[in-house]
Amino acid sequence: MMESLIAAASSYAGQIDQVTHVVAILGGFWLLLAEAALFYFVFKYRRSRNPKAEYITGETKQQMKWIHWPHNLVLLCDIVILVFAVRAWYHVKQEMPPIDEEVRVVGHQWAWEFVHSGPDGKLGTDDDVSVVDELHLIVNKTYKFKLEAADVLHSFSIPAFRFKQDAVPGRQISGWFKPTKTGQYDVPCSQMCGIGHGIMGGQVYVHTPEEYRQWLDSKVPKSASLPVKGVDRIAMNQGGM
């Protein structure tokens, strides 16, 4: 259902869509049931058909069953939803699987700064590649991001990954994602960040390893010593897949 609306391009997109579908099915069931009962009663007990109303207090044991059973069933549905929701949440927000690459994301008024680890595969070194509004990733690699905000709150959101996390000034928030489909996806800011909030959006490019290396080569200055090690690492990881 969700995939027909928007691409699902990360490893956990399916799990989050699953939560959505579970809620849709259980919630939809109750919604339809309640609406059906409501309209059936309105139709059946209208004055022209039923001129004299019954006297029902709704406080005898027999009558309270009509409240208690739905009550218990709703509770049961809640528990089912809870299990799915917390599992997905734990997987996406609390777990940190073994990572292949790191990327630093900084929200500014009104652009994203993406710091790629560069050829050596490490953040905070001289060969980091910092790009505005473009995030370049390799398909099927697990990325850890470090999210910061330079001025006000922003929200790092990749709808196609089913991912969202606010960037808070003064905090560094980490998380992970693993793109599973090549292509180009939106990275809008989804938290009000001022006048330019509506233009703040980048693109994430999910590349094959070859494309990624081409992109990286175009960014690394020729004068820099050849970062063989980093490239090797990427290739090695590729082999290990």
Partner: protein, 573 residues
């Protein structure tokens, strides 16, 4: 009950107490009134006026959403600053200056003394003061949109650091004025709330026991208590943020030891109970309308009352679900998911009780009844779609999308529009002694209830497809340029225009019938509650003789009685 002694004694000087009220000038009666009904009217008219302003704002930004970059008459081209300011003030106005004054203050003021059978609020002058502060807050808010730099545009949640510094928000005067207006409004409602609670606790008609109080009164009182217990941290937070904005403290500036997430907590600790502060009175209005036009006792009165109280208590432990992805510790999110899903239990239970009330009923589809049924039908959708957001896993995706927006409009519009219309059509005869026109009322009903779905069903769709909130032009994002999304946005906007157009019928009907409508007697709907004992419209002092209460409020179609209703004040024979 201990009161009865006094109350009987107090009834003795009724004639004395109110004899000297008849010679009031227009200004004394309508501008600086002490009468709870007039103060209720002041709240009602001010609230509706603010609601109209808020609705016109929605017209401005919905047009921009549907037809980005086109001039919107009469505003012209919508700039991002203007767009943000409209979105922010639309949200603030609709909640603080429309839903709250109308649902709690207007209906509370008008109904509480009438329905519990006394002559006025316990503190008429505090009541008047509360309205005056509220009016001042509304004026400050409106003025904030016309100061240099324009109105505040940092969303109604006003998250710092954006809201804390004009370096970031570019509204050096708009932001503090907005915040000041909100704080003033809280003070007004604290005064009003204390008045409501004290009135209910102390001034009930002799014989009116806990389970004889009409549900709407309970709901307004529970809402007032929720408001009072939750707003404190935000008042403190508003002072802190105001200092950040004006004198340069750093309460919410991380570099200087503050914490932006603290504000989010201060805000939502109030913000979530606030949802129930407006929901409960709306539920109460529906609980009054349903039994009258179903000619049937409310199903399980005690269940309704206790589920309302349970909802109120639970509403204090769910607030962080607004912040799941906002930077709170993810472990806390699990706790708040559990509590959030739990709160669905009492709310669904309440709705089931309402549906159960219709079983075996004899339903008259009058205008107020139509609105009451529509409230249940529409609010169910709002409630169910809330689970997508309360479940932490799916909220990662849905947070801050139009899905959220559609969800809470599916709760707030049934609450603040549909239930309010049910209440207005229902109590209009009591307010003005005349009926509203039923035919035009029904035209207005269909013109409201159907286009409303036309606005927000498409927005569920666009939200699920990734439209995120508060962007002044979604076409800046390639994924959101699909033709079917554009069509859905335009469909929503056109539905809005239709819905707004039909409200004109309401206003004509309202003001025409205020003066020319068919005359109504004291109890035109054959209802049980005490307000229908007083003449329509009730004079200052309400009752010729203060009523006593003999039974619960919903004794309709009692077997063995000739008439199908049994007023609360009628002694058992």
């Amino acid at each position: 009950m201990a009161t009865q002694g006094h109350a009987a004694a107090a009834n003795g000087h009724d004639a004395h107490g109110h004899g000297d009220h008849h010679e009031l000038s227009f200004v004394q009666k309508y501008i600086f009134p002490l009468d709870h009904k007039i103060i209720g009217m002041q709240y009602l008219f001010t609230g509706i006026l603010m609601g109209v302003i808020g609705a016109l704002m929605s017209y401005a930004f919905r047009m921009q959403m549907a037809f980005p970059g086109k001039a919107v008459p009469p505003f012209g081209l919508i700039t991002p600053e203007f767009y943000n300011s409209m979105v922010t003030n639309h949200g603030s106005i609709m909640i603080f200056w429309f839903a709250m004054p109308v649902l709690i203050a207007a209906f509370g003021n008008f109904l509480i003394p009438l329905m519990i059978g006394c002559d006025d609020m316990v503190f008429p002058r505090v009541n008047r003061l509360s309205y005056q502060i509220f009016l001042l807050s509304a004026i400050v808010l409106i003025a904030s949109m016309f100061v240099p730099g324009g109105g505040f545009g940092g969303a109604w949640t006003s998250y710092p650091p954006l809201s804390a510094s004009s370096v970031y928000n570019q509204t050096p005067y708009g932001a503090p004025m907005w915040l000041f207006a909100v704080a003033l409004e809280f003070v007004a409602f604290l005064l009003g709330g204390i008045n409501f609670i004290t009135t209910l606790m102390n001034s009930r008609a002799p014989g009116m026991k806990m389970y004889n109080i009409p549900i709407v009164i309970w709901m307004i009182i529970i809402a007032s208590i929720l408001f009072m217990a939750s707003v404190g941290p935000l008042i403190a937070g508003a002072v802190m943020l105001l200092f950040d904005q004006t004198i340069g403290t750093g309460f919410f500036d991380p570099v200087r030891g503050g914490d932006p997430v603290l504000w989010q907590h201060l805000f939502w600790f109030f913000g979530h109970p606030e949802v129930y502060v407006v929901l409960l009175p709306a539920m109460g209005i529906v609980a009054e309308v349903l039994p009258v036009f179903a000619r049937k006792k409310l199903f399980a009165y005690k269940t309704v009352l206790w589920t309302a109280i349970a909802t109120g208590v639970l509403s204090f432990v769910v607030w962080a679900h607004h912040q799941f992805v906002a930077g709170i510790d993810p472990r806390m999110a699990n706790i708040f998911t559990v509590t959030t899903l739990l709160i669905s239990v009492p709310v669904t239970e309440m709705l089931f009780v309402y549906i159960g009330t219709l079983y075996g009923a004899s339903i008259q589809l009058t205008t107020p009844m139509l609105f009451a049924i529509a409230f249940i039908a529409e609010f169910l959708i709002g409630g169910v779609t809330g689970i997508f957001l309360g479940a932490s896993g799916s909220d990662i995706y849905f947070h801050d999308t139009y899905f959220v927006l559609a969800h809470f409009h599916y709760t707030f519009i049934p609450i603040a529009v549909i239930a309010v219309f049910a209440g207005i059509y229902y109590w209009f005869p009591k307010m003005f002694g005349r009926f509203m026109n039923d035919f035009w009322g029904k035209v207005h009903f269909w013109g409201t209830a159907i286009p409303f779905n036309g606005i927000f069903l498409p927005l569920f769709y666009t939200g699920a497809a990734g439209d995120h909130r508060r962007s002044f032009d979604l076409l800046n994002f390639p994924e959101l340029r699909q033709p079917n999304l554009i069509f859905a946005r335009q469909f929503a906007t056109i539905s809005l225009l239709v819905m707004l157009g039909f409200q004109v019928i309401f206003f004509i009907n309202f003001f025409y019938c205020m003066f020319r409508g068919r005359k109504a007697g004291a109890n035109p709907w054959n209802a049980n509650t005490l307000e229908w004992v007083a003449p329509s419209p009730p004079p200052h002092g309400n009752f010729a003789e203060l009523p006593n209460c003999h039974r619960g409020p919903y004794e309709y179609s009692v077997p063995g009685r000739e008439s199908d209703y049994w007023p609360q004040n009628e002694p058992a024979t």
